[in-house]
Subunit: 669 residues, 2 copies
């Protein structure tokens, strides 16, 4: 009977596949499919581990990457850090066993989450050069460092230690991994050089030194002395939890009652919410968690998804934050001198599939960025640059699906990467980033993430639109100024000469034509960290102006003002002045200085003027509608002073709410 | 000492991660990240297994896929086949254990190569609905079928069997898998409907029946009764082998001497090549294979890569083949009625990283395909349609990087998907397809594969260019015909009437203006499978034409000709006629009929005419230069007959080699 032997023959061929064997054969999935990418992936896994380790130990990272050629197609790579070091007994498993690690089961943001990374590099090195990886690691409590040479036994997915030794090391603690692999080094778009540059942008607290094969040393100095706090491990949030997941988690629960399990092993469940959930599910809460199954389990899940819970907290995440995004960009974009840094956007955290995440966006415009090319898109996940697979990434999709023409960039057909002198930085931070593969190069499509990406991109794009339209109006007005101020006096002089009269005062004419309060915010070069606001009254009436300067609260604390402000609100980061009455065509100035070394420029500050509506204000913003000042004191007093009637409502009350609402309606939905 | 506790704390958190846990958390990597994709992946894994099993058993596959809605967001899926069935003891591991299978270690083409697929679907079903998968399987030698309900224990990556039973089943052998999962069914670009359509194109020997949730039944009938042969398992070829790989394979070798190991465990190594390799490496061949390491190993690898070896054989691969590509496309594109099926391209096999692969391309043009949209690109790997991640796929990259404007398609800037009424089918067959992730949706970039893809695409594109330029010339000539034949007689009549003379014979004038031999190849509708060639001599001299008809050898065997040909060459698939002398403006015809049911149309046949150069021939091809007839007998005899001088050499000898060479130089490098 041939069928008998066939089914049996087939059965005889069934075998377990070791995960190391699987990835040895499918090394492209891990990012090792060609010599250039293999090198990048190796550097990336080493540096990611180094930064994670330093963060856990709360040390400012000092990372050294050395790349040296060895023969025609081999490269020796070493990555060294000043992290806490690894206990000797853990070294083999950490470096030579796939799917082994400390961060997979922890529900908090970290660079490595898969337990694959560095072991994959060791696997690839062994595969291509048959040479072991050399690990040196020292923990603070021991005198000497351990040196271990190891390979992976791919058939078993277990470490094979070839030698163990001790050595003296000048670092108090740290780890160094050294590998010989088939690889190729060159600078370029997807090179270790670019990867480390991107890493420096989003890890401004790290100092990274790269030594290239020709001996060139590239150093990225840190621009922040603060180690980001270790993200806290949190219980998983019930939003987006699946039925089978809930079931198996309840079976594995450490508490004896369902109520206690819900309170302790789930994030966001308050005692009150727990009562509501249980009652909605028809449960008492006294059940043993492992006994809840079948329909009870389904009702419990439905209740967890319908009862409002406390949203996830941000402390399991480690966002970069607006200030450091800007500082990181500035550090690396120094030579490009962009005109405009949009205030970076940091969205509130959301949950998908039980995992919190948040999106951050930075946008830079102008300066030396190329005008006629697609914008530069820098993608990051958990503070790690993503250099490959841009086309397969949800970040790219979100950028390409937006109509950037509405925000002032060129874009063919309203889709695809827009064209213009802009650079976008997009960062996704999550306790679990849904990568499309183990190579961690692209984020899988996901409606929740895409929605947040779009909202963040729109917010950044609105800043760009405002900047471009202000710049447009300002350019227009400046042109008008120039013409008026050049032509009018000449005309007047000529006319006066013809009729043999003295040249008249042109102020009323000029101000009637201009009819604008002009604010010029500059950071004068060489004057140290100073921002100066020059206010000119190009309107036909004398004006008492109430002005507000807004800046990050941290900056306000260290600022020195001239003249002294009439008041400050350190919490909101605001200072305000009621300026002495300004005659038509007259000018006054304010200045703010910061201690030497402070990084600040005009775009960090916002200048608001009350009581002048948008049409008559240039270079500053009208007072937002939600600030609690509708008809400012100064305006009223000035009017009373001058014996003039109160300004018309339309000049003082701009319906900011309506403007905001219509903006929101256009963009956010 | 806080550092002590930190390194120790971190060590305490290190844990093994089960591969099932890993993929439960990273289900997007397996293709289960949203309800639509989860359903497609489930159907795909089920059907891929079904087709692989039938192929192994050499049965014509009968696959039934049923999809039913269950509640708001759940779907019940079953896939049933008539394969050999699975032994009861293997069912749990096959369906509920990741990285377990029979095809991973076999070096031959199959759909499933990873040992993950169907178990991933079982994992996802358990995760989202907590319901077990139900497996029914019967092997021929047993009376009853086994029914097993199972889940995956994700912590251990082992099957958890919930129930086992026996049932009577009307199939002699086969397997059915039934799953309840969170999913969504809809037709559309990335749906099971499209996937099965694509599967039918590249598996013309399979009969597939899909039952949709609303009860609609879609049947793809088989159009071939031949089961493709089971690809043979071959020893891995040394080309592209890595050092570490060679080392570990030698350690695991079953033979005692190096010579024997090279001969038996490596493909392509003849006894002579083995001697050369060993001598180049400075080895005797008597070494125990496991003892070869270090520099000896490196020398051995270098020798294996430099000594010429027998290239890989194709029998570990299962290409679709030109005939079935065309038939498959025709079966599914019926309603579109394309104008042109380019002769499908099947490239010879190549090796990358020790794994043989080959590329096939089909191209269809015109008919009802949309004119103003990007071409349709159907991607396949090992006879499986790839529906997601088009942007991340090497196939897409190869298509987009080609300048299709040179081949007659519209393409902005000479890059990107071209626009036009064309459909491209691209198939990569390999013993190991380098997918970008376990979801098997895109092929990773690889220079060897991309080169073959480009060559195959260029070959198909050249056929398109020829078709379009012939169509262009023919359209032009037809227009000229129409004008001449409408205007000239009227002019003649009018002139004759004016001068009161009889209307002259216009033939000499018309033929002098046309000066062309015109061949019209048609398959008359309703005439059964018949192709008719009508030959008109629009030249000013009488002509004896030697004509050749070429077709696939299989077609020639069943053809009936009228009139009978002067000769046939069944091996080359050619028949030829020396046509009776054709006067200017005279016409003659040939016809070829095939048995009812034969699939054939004019584009399957090529018509060649000897002794008329390209400039004077329309609708047929001049005789290729490598056919062994330069100045055909008929031409010589006709000239002698007519007492005319022999035709000028430039009219009979076209330098085809030079034309080919310049074509090659332009395209192939």
């Amino acid at each position: 009977m041939p069928a008998r032997s066939l089914a049996q023959q087939l059965a005889a061929k069934q075998r377990e596949i070791s995960v190391a064997e699987f990835f040895e054969r499918n090394r492209q999935i891990l990012g090792f499919d060609n010599p250039l990418r293999a090198l990048l992936t190796t550097v990336k896994e080493g540096v990611d581990n180094a930064l994670d380790a330093c963060e856990e130990a709360q040390v400012l990272p000092e990372v050294r990457v050395e790349i040296a050629r060895e023969g025609a197609d081999r490269v020796r790579v070493s990555v060294e850090d000043n992290g806490p070091g690894i206990l000797k007994r853990e070294i083999p498993n950490v470096f030579a066993r796939l799917l082994y690690g400390s961060r997979f089961h922890a529900n908090r943001q970290s660079r490595g989450q898969q337990g694959i990374g560095i072991s994959a590099a060791v696997l690839y090195a062994g595969l291509t050069t048959a040479r072991p990886a050399k690990i040196t690691s020292k923990v603070e409590e021991e005198e000497a460092a351990h040196v271990v040479e190891l390979l992976i036994d791919t058939q078993k997915n277990l470490p094979r230690v070839l030698s163990e030794d001790l050595t003296l090391w000048d670092r108090p603690h740290g780890t160094r991994v050294e590998l010989l692999l088939k690889a190729k080094y060159q600078r370029g778009r997807q090179s270790p050089f670019e990867y480390l540059k991107g890493t420096a942008i989003v890890n401004p607290h790290a100092r990274i030194v790269l030594t290239e094969p020709d001996g060139t040393r590239v150093t990225y100095e840190r621009v922040s002395e603060e180690v980001p706090p270790v993200p806290k491990e949190v219980a998983p949030h019930p939003y987006g939890l699946e039925l089978g997941e809930l079931g198996s988690r309840l079976k594995a629960a450490r508490y004896s009652s369902l109520t206690e399990t819900l309170l302790k092993e789930r994030a966001g469940v308050s005692p009150r919410a727990a009562r509501e959930v249980l009652s909605a599910a028809g449960l008492t809460g006294k059940e043993a968690p492992g006994d809840v199954h079948g329909e009870e389990l389904e009702r419990l899940l439905a209740a967890l998804h319908s009862v409002p819970l406390v949203p996830p907290t941000v402390d399991c995440l480690s966002p970069i934050g607006p200030l450091l995004i800007k500082r990181g960009l500035r550090n690396v974009l120094g030579e490009v001198r962009p005109d405009f840094y949009a205030p970076p956007v940091s969205r509130p955290p959301r949950v998908r599939g039980g995992f919190p995440f948040l999106v951050e966006v930075g946008l830079v415009y102008g300066g030396g960025l190329p005008v006629d090319q697609p914008i530069q898109l820098l993608r990051f996940a958990n503070r790690v640059p993503l250099l490959f697979q841009q086309g397969a990434c949800a970040i790219t999709a979100a950028v390409e699906q937006m109509d950037w023409r509405r925000y002032g960039l060129d874009q063919r057909g309203g889709a695809g990467l827009p064209v213009g002198p802009a650079l976008l930085l997009v960062h996704l931070a999550s306790t679990k980033v849904p990568f499309t593969s183990e190579a961690k190069e692209a984020i899988a499509p996901d409606p929740e993430i895409e929605k947040e990406l779009t909202l963040a991109l729109q917010a950044a794009a609105r800043h760009l639109r405002t900047h471009l339209s202000r710049r447009g109006r300002r350019d227009q007005a400046s042109e008008k100024f120039a013409i008026i101020q050049r032509i009018l006096p000449k005309l007047a002089e000529k006319t006066a000469h013809l009729v043999d009269r003295p040249v008249p005062d042109l102020t009323p004419v000029i101000t009637r034509i201009m009819d604008i309060v002009f604010v010029d915010l500059t950071s004068p070069e060489g004057a140290g960290p100073t921002v100066r606001a020059e206010i000119t009254n190009y309107t036909p009436r004398p004006r008492v102006l109430e002005t507000f300067l807004e800046m990050p609260a941290a900056l306000l604390g260290s600022a020195t003002f001239a003249p002294a402000p009439d008041g400050t609100d350190p919490g909101l980061g605001r200072a305000w002045w009621t300026l002495a009455k300004l005659a038509p065509n007259a000018r006054t100035a304010l200045s703010v200085s910061f201690p030497p070394g402070t990084e600040v420029d005009a775009s960090d500050l916002s200048f608001y003027v009350a009581g002048v509506d948008e049409a008559h204000l240039l270079g500053a913003e009208p007072l937002p509608g939600d600030w609690d000042i509708r008809l400012p004191r100064a305006v009223i007093e000035a009017a009373q002073d001058a014996g003039e009637p109160l300004p018309a409502a339309d000049e003082t009350e701009v319906d900011y709410d309506a403007a905001e609402a219509s903006e929101g309606a256009r963009d956010d939905d």
